[in-house]
Amino acid sequence: MSPLFTYLVVSTFLFVIGLVGALTRRNAIMVLIGIELMLNAANLNFIAFWRFSSHAEALAGIMFVIFSIAVAAAEAAVGLALIIAINRHYKTTDVTQMDSMRG
């Protein structure tokens, strides 16, 4: 196995673990944690491909991850604020009970 391949395997596992959590957990905060894990798996892919590319001096992968981390931080702040607001209105963080718009 080449070194790049092992990093891609780790990133694949992280992405799928995050996806399972985001799709199956009841608590909205856990869904957000799963999304964060998926974002981190994508960042690991960016860094691995940057490191093993032949044009590493262009720093494209590093720049992409810097902006990705900033966007993920903004996403986490807004997502957690939404969860707190929903918890104040409905007194629950269970995503299966937030169904007042269900037809």
């Binding site: 780790v10 694949t12 992280l14 856990m30 810097i66 299966t96």
Partner: protein
Amino acid sequence: MTVSFAIIAILTIASAIAAMTLRNLVHCALALAGAFAGLAALYLQLDAQFIGFAQILVYVGAVAILIVFAILLTGGSDPAKQPIFSSGWCIGAGVALAVLGVLVWALRSSHTINETLPDVSNTSVRRIGDQLMTKYILPLEVIGLLLTAALIGAVIIAMKEEKTK
């Protein structure tokens, strides 16, 4: 594959699994911080020092603490009585398995995998700063605007609503 990579990778994946399966939400947040730290170590192994320390600062320092705050504010620190997985969990697990299958297929059929580690010597923070201030100046400004707007929006959303007469 070196021994240190194997240890870090196993620790990272184990903490990610723990973060997704534990019952107590505070334990989940702690395991998540462990997974983030493991990822930072992987970045350091890949010669991306700046990203590694930014990962520790932003994720372990800010996002994990924010998640702990949200858990405590929503009163989710005591373990739930009902099952932690939603009733349609088998559908979600099936979708995740399908995604895993597609990713494994893509990994196995890729031919462009570079066997040798190219030499990178010029990834100093000074060079990253130079690039950020010249080539990537517009994305940098946009990301600053996005962060400002997102944080103001988060404060407004989470603020207590005043009763309107």
